[in-house]
């Protein structure tokens, strides 16, 4: 037992030396995690803050100008053109100079004063309908405030039904708050899976794996010796991304670190398990790369990172059950934003444990029994 532990220690030392040996390989391990979390943190957002729009104001009344001023003052909309003919609309939208054209008919103010519904006409560029939809919802909210204000000023009754919306855990519904906790899992998966998938493949290519197998080291010890350092690296990467989330993006952390790390440890172990499993199957690094890549794409696309799992057809929802990232994203979003406790994330924890418990022993067995 002690001998086995000593051998595992030797393996872990070797692995860490090889990984952290020089400045360059250390940089390769950790810099991408930080750069990616910064870059994707900024890039991967459905929120809009620069929506170019054009005004087609046939009314030129105080009312229409008030509404335009509200749009301009929102910090989201940039007025880039004012047009006077309907024929100009197509040009602006087609050439992507504007995302929205907002139009006021000549009787806008008259109808407002008369208490008749006054139309605000909006044309949106739906080439990315998600962006267009988000922009429209911003306009709706601004018009809603404009109406409330108008009613108050003109002593009109409030609408019969008022909708009050409250968002839990993310009051301003910022997508960045949603994305960055999810990136903790995604970036960590990308890196650890590749790292471990390549590790045994590299040893096989270099012949060092045979050299290991002729020593008294057991396959299980090799597996543990590979999994431990990779898990450490994965957790350090996750920690770096968490630091970026809190210190750079200032996203408040609602949960307990103990819970989050319990989830992350299980997740990284399952990712390492999958990586080592790939590694035990392949003979060359090229195959390992291809395998990981072919797996990573569906893992990321079917994780709920960019599109919700609930929107997927049932067959694909079942597929996500074997996807560790699905659970990791759920864990990190819920613990980070909601402050979910152990009991809340238990349904995510045990599948991860199962994935690790299956892949790791199989990988260890394959180390020795793979037919070369």
């Amino acid at each position: 037992m002690i001998a086995a532990l000593l051998r595992i220690r030797t393996l872990v030392q070797k692995e860490l030396l090889a990984l952290l040996r020089d400045r360059r390989s250390r940089a390769v391990l950790f810099a991408p995690a930080i750069v990616q979390s910064l870059l994707f943190g900024y890039a991967a957002s459905y929120d809009l803050n620069h929506v170019p729009y054009a005004v087609f104001d046939e009314d030129r009344s105080a009312a229409s100008r008030d509404l335009i001023a509200r749009l301009d003052g929102s910090g989201v909309f940039d007025r880039v053109a004012e047009i006077s003919r309907a024929s100009e609309i197509a040009d602006l939208v087609d050439s992507r100079q504007v995302l929205l054209v907002i139009g006021f008919g000549p009787d806008f103010a008259r109808r407002m004063t008369a208490g008749e519904p006054a139309n605000v006409l909006i044309i949106a560029d739906g080439r990315n309908s998600n962006t267009a939809g988000t922009a429209l919802s911003y306009v709706n909210a601004i018009v809603e405030r404009f109406n409330t204000n108008w009613r108050e000023r003109h002593g009109l009754a409030s609408p019969p039904v008022r909708v009050t919306v409250r968002a839990w855990y993310n009051q301003n519904l910022e997508t960045r708050w949603t994305m960055i906790p999810a990136l903790v899992g995604t970036i960590t998966l990308l890196q650890t899976l590749l790292l471990t998938a390549l590790s045994v493949a590299r040893e096989r290519e270099d012949g060092t794996f045979d050299q290991l197998l002729v020593t008294p080291i057991r396959p299980t010890e090799i597996m543990v010796g590979k999994a431990l350092p990779a898990t450490m690296v994965g957790l350090i990467q996750a920690t770096l991304i968490l630091l970026v989330a809190q210190l750079w993006f200032n996203i408040p952390f609602a949960g307990s670190f103990v819970t989050l790390y319990a989830g992350l440890v299980l997740f990284v172990v399952s990712a390492v398990g999958i990586g080592l499993f790939i590694s035990s199957l392949v003979a060359t690094m090229q195959q390992a790369m291809l395998f990981s890549f072919v797996l990573l794409m569906p893992f990321i696309l079917l994780s709920g990172l960019a599109t919700p799992i609930g929107n997927m057809p049932p067959a694909f929802q079942y597929l996500t059950f074997v996807n560790p990232l699905r659970y990791a994203i759920d864990i990190s979003r819920r613990v980070y934003l909601e402050g979910a406790g152990f009991a809340d994330i238990a349904p995510d924890l045990w599948p991860l444990a199962v994935i690790g418990a299956v892949t790791l022993p199989v990988a260890a067995w394959m180390f020795r029994n793979r037919l070369v």
Binding site: D91, R127, F146, L301
Partner: protein, 381 residues
């Protein structure tokens, strides 16, 4: 000199043909090119067509009815009938909140007691609580909820009741190019970007670097072949492969996912060719510079694949990114191609978009091909 004459146009053509025949045979027999060139695109088509969607459908929401008046039931029916929601009626707010805490529902719509009374007095309230952990879904629920309640109110207004309550300004919006607001319309063009990148940059970097690693290029260099011919001999087969990928994506988009193609096919093919050449150029330069399959494919992944997903404008709006990030997107070819694809597919042949973006891609393609030639020939001189 006889050998000089043989080295003319015909000699060049024959050598090129030999290179292409060899490459095609290799593609066909090498599992890695099958995996990247055929299996991956197929997986991506299925995932993008069927699995990915930003449209809210059957989102579970809790409907807490504390008032059972006709008015309240009408609002509830709006939710229950909407294809966007899977509304589960609950009797108490506590139960709904428990369901939301357990992430069983993504939102709560509460019609508080006294709703009917409030409505009669013009001061009724509907509360919507959304689960902000997935902000995008939450915002979409919010929008749908407002719309559904607004419609109910409009209906009543039309019936002549509560006219006083109609909002003074009413937003009437039209979504051009995607009236059905179907997210597949912009996901399928994005899919083409990914497939082209995969074949153009990733696969090409891998196979070209393999030739460097194996030393087979050395054997070719001692023949009368020129660096330009070697590059063309690589470019043409993978170009064809990329175009086949394009054909499959367009067909799948058209017939499986019913995405319209409003522009002309010719323009689509030209635009895609330009991007494919850029991707091939990146693959060839990366492999010639690094001469290692591993490093070359990592570079190809980092400078083409991830940016194609995240920094191209295909999912996330570029204009809303910080200036520094936007600056990066300008040097990445994917943004120009996404602009082209979304326009050609959904808007039509809009030259004011096609010409400038196409010109940038053409410039990049030319530059990269020259770079690839220089990097490959360096070895010879």
């Amino acid at each position: 000199m006889t050998s000089g004459a043989a080295d003319g146009i015909t000699g060049r053509g024959r050598r090129l043909r030999a290179l292409i025949v060899k490459e095609s045979r290799q593609i066909w027999r090498d599992p890695s090119s099958i995996a990247l060139g055929i299996v991956m695109p197929a997986i991506l088509i299925v995932l993008f067509g069927y699995a990915l969607s930003l449209d809210v459908r059957n989102t579970p929401v809790a409907l807490v009815m504390e008032d059972f008046s006709a008015e309240a039931r009408e609002i509830a029916a709006g939710f229950q009938l909407s294809p966007s929601f899977d509304a589960r009626v609950m009797t108490s707010m506590a139960a709904a909140e428990r369901a939301m805490l357990a992430a069983e529902v993504n939102g709560i719509v509460r019609i508080p007691s006294g709703f009917a009374r409030g409505a009669a007095a013009g001061a009724a309230e509907v509360q919507v609580l959304v689960h902000g952990t997935d902000a995008n879904t939450a915002r979409i629920i919010e929008g749908y909820a407002l719309g559904a309640i607004g419609k109910a109110a409009e209906r009543r207004a039309a019936e002549g009741q509560l006219v006083a309550g109609a909002g003074p300004a009413v937003v009437q919006s039209r979504m051009w190019f995607n009236e059905a607001n179907d997210s597949r319309h912009f996901l399928v063009p994005g899919l083409i970007v990914l497939i082209m990148t995969l074949i153009g940059a990733f696969l090409t970097a891998l196979v070209m670097a393999r030739e460097w690693e194996r030393g087979t290029l050395e054997a070719i260099f001692v023949t009368p072949v020129r660096a330009g011919e070697i590059l063309l001999g690589k470019t043409i087969p993978y170009f064809v492969m990329g175009m086949i990928g394009l054909a499959f994506s367009v067909l799948a988009g058209r017939f499986l996912f019913h995405v319209p193609l409003r522009g002309s096919l010719v323009v689509l093919v030209i635009a895609s060719s330009l991007y494919l050449l850029v991707a091939l150029g990146i693959g060839l330069v990366a492999s010639a510079v690094t001469r290692s399959q591993f490093v070359a494919s990592q570079i190809a992944l980092l400078v083409t694949f991830l940016p194609a997903m995240l920094l191209s404008g295909f999912l996330f709006d570029l204009r809303s990114m910080p200036v520094a990030v936007q600056a990066i997107t300008y040097v990445l070819p994917a943004r120009y191609f996404v602009a082209l694809l979304q326009t050609i597919f959904l808007a039509g042949d809009i030259w004011s978009v096609i010409l400038p973006n196409g010109a940038v891609l053409a410039g990049m393609a030319a530059l990269l091909m020259v770079l690839a030639r220089v990097a490959t020939r360096k070895r010879l001189d």
